[in-house]
C-alpha cells in the first residue's frame, strides 16, 4: 500500500506543480501574454467555491440528510442567473474605484469610512479563519488516513501527535510560502495575481476529476450503475430521497439556498476571484452557466458515493465525511485513493490560498494601514512605504494561516470546527445587505451599514458561534438549554421563543432581521451626508457611466509634486512615475511634473493609491497633502445633477439629429418617387395621345373622303361609315378605360366587399361574352367545381377582369379551330382561375410587360386589337383584392392567363 514517504513525495510533487503553474502564469502576465484572460479560466477559478468541505463534506451531508447538500450549490446556480446585473455592477464599481476587497467595497460605498472597513475586516477574519482551520484539518486528516492504510481507521487522533510531526503545520507553512510568493509579489494598483489564478483554475480541474473518478469507481466498479446502487441502498434502508423530510422541512431547504446564494457573492475568496481578479467584463457571460455546470458535475456522484460508502462500511463506524478517500482504500485501490487525496488537497489548498490573500488585503488595508497612516508623517521621509505595505501583507498572511492552524490544534475534533462550514457562511452573509442593497438604493448611510453589520454579527455570534462553543464543551451547556441566567426567552437557538427550526435557518432569520432592520432604520433616520451621497451615486449608477464621474467632485488646492511624491512612497519611484506618465500622456502633457494639479489629477492619484492601500486610507493620505475645500451636499448633488443633465441633453441632441437624418432620408425618397411618378405621367400622356391619334386619324381620313367626294358608291360609303363608327367606339372605350385606370390608381374607386361565388361569376361572364364566342365560332371548354368557391371582393370589378380575359382569349384565338378554356380550382387557401386560348401566344420577353399600360402582345402585323389598358386594369383589380395575376405561354401554342384570389373565410 502507500507508504508515508511516497504520499509526501506525491503531495510535494503536486504542490511543486502548482508553484510551477503559478510561476508560469506570472511570467506570462509580465510579458503581457496572459494565460488567465479567458472566460473558461475565469469560470474555473470561481470554482474555488468548492473547498475540502465540498470534496469530503458533501458526502457526509448526503449520508445524513439525503439531498441536504444540494442547496449549497443550487443557491449559487440561481444567483448566477442574476450576475448579468449584480456581479457586473460590482466588477465595474470595483474597477473604477480600484476596490480590492469586500472591506474596501463596503467602506467605499458608505463614504470611504475607515471604521466601517475595519469592522468588515474583523468580521471576515473571525468568520473565515475557522474555515481555513477546517481545510487544514481536512488535509491532515486525509493524510493520516491514507498513510494508515490499507486498514481504514475509524478514529484518528490528530492532536495527540507532537506539533513538529503535524502535517497540518507544514501544509500551513507551504501554503503561506505560496501565498506570499504569488500573492504579494509587488504592490500593484490593480491587485491582480494572474499566476495565482492560473493555479486555482488548475486545482479546480484536479478536484473535479478526482471526485468524478471516485464516483465512477463507486457507481460502476463497486456496483452496476446508479439504478443498481439505488436499489441495494433502498433494501438496506440507506436511501433517504425525500427532500422535505431529510432537511427537516422545506424552510431549511430554502434558508440554506439563500445562505449559499449570498455566500457565493460575499465570501472574501469569491470576491477576490470574481471581482478583483476579473480581467474582462465579458468573462462574466460564460461564468453565468459554466460555473453552475461545474457545480452540477461535481455533485452528480455525491449521493452514489454516500450510498456506496454506507453499504461498504455498514456497522464499522467509518465517518461518512471520509468516504471519498476510504472507499477506494477499503477496496485496495491505492492509486485511486492517492488521486482522491490529491483532489482533496487541491480543494483545500485552493481555498486557503485565495482566502488568505483576500483576508491579508483586508487586514493590511483596513486594519493596519489606518493606524500606521495616522503617524506616517513621523516616519523617516525616505522610508519605503511600499515595502512596508508588502511586509504588512506578508505578515498578515503568516498570522492568518497560523491562526487557522492554532484553531485547528485547539478545536480539532470539536463541534465548533466540524460544523464551521455553514457557520462561516452565515458570518459572511452579514455583509450581503450592506453590499447588495447599497448597490441599488441610494439612501443607505454609514451609520445604517455599521448598525446592520454589528447587529447581524452580534446575533450570529449569539445564535451560532457561542452555541458551537457550548457544544464543544467550552461553555456550559446550561447556557444553551436554559438561556443565559435561566432566561428562557433568550435561549440562543430558540431566540424569543422561536423554536423548532434548524440552527442555521434560525440564525439566518434573526441575524438578517436585525441586520437589515438596523441598516434600514438608521439609514432612514438621517439623510446621507455629502460623502455618502456622492459614493451612493457612483455605486448605484455604475452601469450608466462609461467612465467614472467622481473626477469632478473635488475642489481645493494641491501640488503635483506632493501627489507624485505620495504615490512614489507607496508604489516605488519607477512604478509611480510610469503610472503618472501614462496619465499625463492621456492628457497631452509631456512630463508628470507639468500636470495641472486639478480635480482630475487628484482623483487619479487617489484611485492609484486606493489599489495599494484601500480607498479609505487613500482618501486620508491624499487629504493630508492637499487642501480640499469641503463641498456642500447641495453642491455635490448639483454637480451630479448637472452631469446627468448634460448626459440627458446630449442624449436629446443625438436623438434630434437622428430624427433629422431620418426626415431628410424620407424627403429624399419622396422626391425620387415624385420624379418617377412625373416621368410615368409624361409617358402615359404621350402613350394616350398616341393611342388617341390612330383612330382619330382614320376617322378623319374616311370622313374627308366622304366629304370631298360625293360620288362614292353606296357600298363604299357604308363601309367607310362602318369604319368610322368602329373607330369612334374604340375611341370612347379608350377614353373610358383611361378614366377608369386613373380612378383606380388615384384610389377614388369605392370598392364593395361582396361575398362572390366565383363559379357563378364565371358563368355570368361567359353569358356576357357568349355573343363574342359564338360569332367567332371558338370552342369553349370549362372545368368548374360543383361546390361554391367564395371570395370577398367587388362583384362588378371581378366581372370586369373575367370579361377582359375572356374577350382577350376569344380575340387571340385563331379563326379556324379556335379553342378557349376556363378552369377554377382551389389550392390551399387560394382560388385559382385560368383562362387559356390556343392563339399565337406571347414571347417570353413580353410575359411581364403586357401588364404595363399600352403594351399589347404584338399579334403579328395586324393593328392592335384592344386598347392596351385591359390587362393593367385587371392587374390592379386583382392586386387590390389581395391576389396576383400572371400569364404563362408557349409561343404559337397559346397563352394562359391565371389569377389567384385568397379564399374568403368559411361562412362569409
Amino acid at each position: 500500500m502507500l507508504t508515508t514517504p511516497f504520499i509526501v513525495l506525491y503531495s510535494f510533487l503536486y504542490l511543486g506543480l502548482l508553484f510551477a503553474i503559478a510561476y508560469w502564469g506570472d511570467r506570462r502576465a509580465d510579458r503581457n501574454r496572459s494565460v488567465v484572460a479567458s472566460p473558461t479560466v475565469y469560470a474555473l477559478s470561481l470554482a474555488v467555491y468548492c473547498t475540502a468541505w465540498t470534496f469530503y463534506g458533501s458526502v457526509g451531508r448526503a449520508a445524513a440528510t439525503g439531498a441536504g447538500f444540494l442547496p449549497i450549490y443550487l443557491g449559487p446556480t440561481l444567483i448566477a442567473a442574476l450576475w448579468g446585473t449584480l456581479l457586473l455592477k460590482m466588477v465595474r464599481v470595483s474597477k473604477s474605484q480600484r476596490i480590492t476587497s469586500i472591506a474596501d467595497f463596503i467602506a467605499s460605498r458608505y463614504g470611504k469610512s475607515q471604521r466601517l472597513g475595519g469592522v468588515v475586516a474583523v468580521i471576515a477574519v473571525i468568520g473565515v479563519v475557522p474555515y481555513i482551520a477546517l481545510q487544514l484539518k481536512a488535509i491532515a486528516r486525509s493524510f493520516t488516513i491514507l498513510q494508515s492504510g490499507p486498514e481504514v481507521q475509524t478514529d484518528t487522533l490528530l492532536t495527540t501527535m507532537p506539533v513538529l510531526q503535524d502535517t497540518a503545520l507544514y501544509v500551513a507553512l507551504v501554503l503561506a510560502a505560496f501565498t506570499i510568493l504569488f500573492g504579494t509579489r509587488h504592490l500593484d494598483a490593480s491587485e491582480r495575481h494572474e499566476g495565482m489564478v492560473a493555479a486555482i483554475a488548475f486545482e479546480s480541474i484536479v478536484k473535479l476529476l478526482a471526485f468524478i473518478a471516485v464516483g465512477v469507481f463507486a457507481t460502476y466498479f463497486l456496483h452496476d450503475g446508479f439504478a443498481d446502487l439505488f436499489n441495494k441502498a433502498e433494501r438496506a434502508g440507506y436511501l433517504n430521497p425525500l427532500v422535505g423530510e431529510g432537511m427537516g422541512g422545506y424552510e431549511n431547504w430554502f434558508a440554506l439556498t439563500l445562505l449559499a446564494a449570498l455566500a457565493v457573492m460575499v465570501l472574501p475568496r469569491q470576491f477576490q476571484v470574481a471581482v478583483v481578479e476579473n480581467s474582462d467584463e465579458d468573462h462574466l457571460r460564460r461564468a453565468v452557466w459554466m460555473f453552475p455546470l461545474y457545480l452540477f458535475l461535481i455533485n452528480i456522484f455525491v449521493i452514489p458515493i454516500a450510498l456506496a460508502g454506507q453499504l461498504s462500511f455498514a456497522g464499522t463506524g467509518v465517518d461518512a465525511d471520509t468516504f471519498v478517500l476510504t472507499l477506494p482504500m477499503a477496496h485496495d485501490q491505492a492509486m485511486l485513493s492517492l488521486f482522491a487525496f490529491i483532489g482533496g488537497l487541491s480543494a483545500a489548498t485552493g481555498m486557503v490560498i485565495v482566502e488568505t490573500i483576500a483576508l491579508s488585503t483586508m487586514v493590511s488595508n483596513n486594519l493596519v494601514m489606518p493606524f500606521l497612516l495616522r503617524r506616517w508623517k513621523r516616519l523617516p521621509p525616505d522610508a519605503d512605504l511600499g515595502q512596508l505595505v508588502l511586509r504588512i501583507r506578508r505578515g498578515a498572511i503568516i498570522v492568518i494561516l497560523l491562526l487557522g492552524y492554532l484553531y485547528f490544534r485547539f478545536a480539532s475534533g470539536a463541534y465548533a470546527l466540524v460544523s464551521i462550514g455553514l457557520i462561516s457562511f452565515a458570518a459572511v452573509a452579514q455583509f450581503a445587505p450592506a453590499m447588495i442593497i447599497g448597490l441599488y438604493w441610494r439612501g443607505g448611510t454609514h451609520r445604517g451599514a455599521m448598525a446592520g453589520l454589528l447587529m447581524g454579527f452580534g446575533v450570529w455570534a449569539y445564535t451560532l458561534l457561542l452555541p458551537s462553543f457550548a457544544k464543544s464543551g467550552w461553555l456550559p451547556m446550561d447556557f444553551l438549554l436554559y438561556g443565559p441566567f435561566g432566561i428562557e426567552l433568550l435561549r440562543p437557538q430558540a431566540l424569543f421563543g422561536l423554536d423548532g427550526m434548524n440552527e442555521i435557518t434560525h440564525c439566518l432569520f434573526w441575524s438578517m432581521t436585525f441586520n437589515i432592520g438596523g441598516y434600514l432604520f438608521l439609514s432612514l433616520w438621517r439623510p446621507p451626508n455629502v460623502h455618502e451621497a456622492t459614493q451612493a451615486t457612483l455605486f448605484v449608477d455604475a452601469l450608466k457611466h462609461e467612465r467614472p464621474i467622481g473626477i469632478r467632485l473635488w475642489r481645493g488646492k494641491a501640488e503635483i509634486k506632493q501627489l507624485l511624491g505620495l504615490a512614489e512612497r507607496f508604489l516605488g519611484n519607477a512604478r509611480a512615475r510610469r503610472a503618472f506618465t501614462a496619465f499625463a500622456a492621456r492628457r497631452d502633457v509631456q512630463v508628470p511634473e507639468d500636470l495641472p494639479a486639478d480635480a482630475e489629477t487628484v482623483h487619479f492619484a487617489e484611485t492609484l493609491l486606493a489599489g495599494a492601500i484601500g480607498s479609505a486610507s487613500a482618501r486620508v493620505m491624499v487629504a493630508s497633502v492637499t487642501a480640499e475645500e469641503t463641498l456642500g451636499l447641495d453642491e455635490v448633488l448639483h454637480i451630479l445633477d448637472e452631469a446627468s443633465q448634460i448626459r440627458a441633453y446630449s442624449h436629446e441632441l443625438e436623438q434630434k439629429s437622428r430624427e433629422l437624418e431620418a426626415a431628410t432620408a424620407e424627403l429624399k425618397t419622396a422626391n425620387e418617387q415624385l420624379k418617377e411618378i412625373d416621368r410615368m405621367k409624361d409617358d402615359f400622356m404621350s402613350s394616350v395621345t398616341h393611342e388617341l391619334r390612330t383612330p382619330l386619324a382614320s376617322i378623319r381620313a374616311f370622313s374627308e373622303i366622304l366629304y370631298d367626294d360625293p360620288k362614292v358608291a353606296l357600298d363604299e360609303r357604308r363601309r367607310f361609315l362602318g369604319i368610322i363608327v368602329d373607330e369612334t367606339n374604340r375611341l370612347s372605350r379608350l377614353v373610358n378605360q383611361v378614366l377608369d385606370l386613373a380612378k383606380i390608381e388615384s384610389g377614388h374607386v369605392q370598392w364593395r366587399d361582396d361575398a362572390v361565388d366565383l363559379g357563378v361569376l364565371i358563368e355570368q361572364a361567359l353569358a356576357v361574352t357568349e355573343q363574342l364566342i359564338s360569332e367567332k365560332g371558338v370552342r369553349l371548354e370549362r372545368a368548374l367545381p360543383e361546390n361554391p368557391c367564395v371570395v370577398t371582393g367587388d362583384t362588378d370589378r371581378l366581372m370586369q377582369v373575367l370579361v377582359n380575359l375572356l374577350s382577350n382569349a376569344v380575340k387571340y384565338a385563331p379563326d379556324r379551330d379556335g379553342r378557349i378554356g376556363v378552369t377554377l380550382s382551389r389550392s390551399k387557401d387560394r382560388y385559382r382561375i385560368s383562362v387559356r386560348d390556343n392563339g399565337p401566344g406571347i414571347a417570353p420577353a413580353d410575359l411581364e410587360s403586357i401588364f404595363e399600360k399600352f403594351r399589347q402582345a404584338s399579334g403579328g402585323e395586324d393593328k392592335p386589337i384592344g386598347t392596351g389598358l385591359g390587362l393593367p386594369i385587371s392587374r390592379r383589380i386583382v392586386e387590390h383584392l389581395g391576389g396576383r395575376i400572371w400569364v404563362e405561354s408557349v409561343e404559337r401554342k397559346g397563352a394562359t392567363f391565371i389569377f389567384e384570389l385568397p379564399a374568403g373565410r368559411e361562412g362569409d
Binding site: L70, L74, L78, A81, G84, F226, E281, F296
Partner: protein, 66 residues
C-alpha cells in the same frame, strides 16, 4: 459583459423559473417516495431541473447574436 438588456431579462426569467421549480410547492409534487427507471423521483427531478436551468442560461447567453 456587453449583453443586451433583453439577455439580462431573460436570465432573470431563468432565475424565476428556478424559484418555481425548486422553491415552490412544485417541488413537493416530485418529493415523493417513488422511483422512475431505478432512480428516486426526487433526485431525478432535482438534477433534471438543475440541468434545465443551466442549459437555459447557456442558451440565453451563448445562443445567437441577439
Amino acid at each position: 459583459m456587453r449583453q443586451s438588456a433583453l439577455t439580462r431579462q431573460r436570465l432573470v426569467g431563468v432565475f424565476v423559473l428556478g424559484l418555481l421549480l425548486l422553491y415552490s410547492p412544485v417541488l413537493a409534487l416530485f418529493d415523493v417516495a417513488a422511483e422512475w427507471a431505478g432512480f428516486p423521483v426526487s433526485y431525478l427531478y432535482l438534477f433534471g431541473a438543475w440541468l434545465l436551468l443551466l442549459l437555459l442560461a447557456a442558451l440565453t447567453v451563448e445562443g445567437g447574436k441577439q
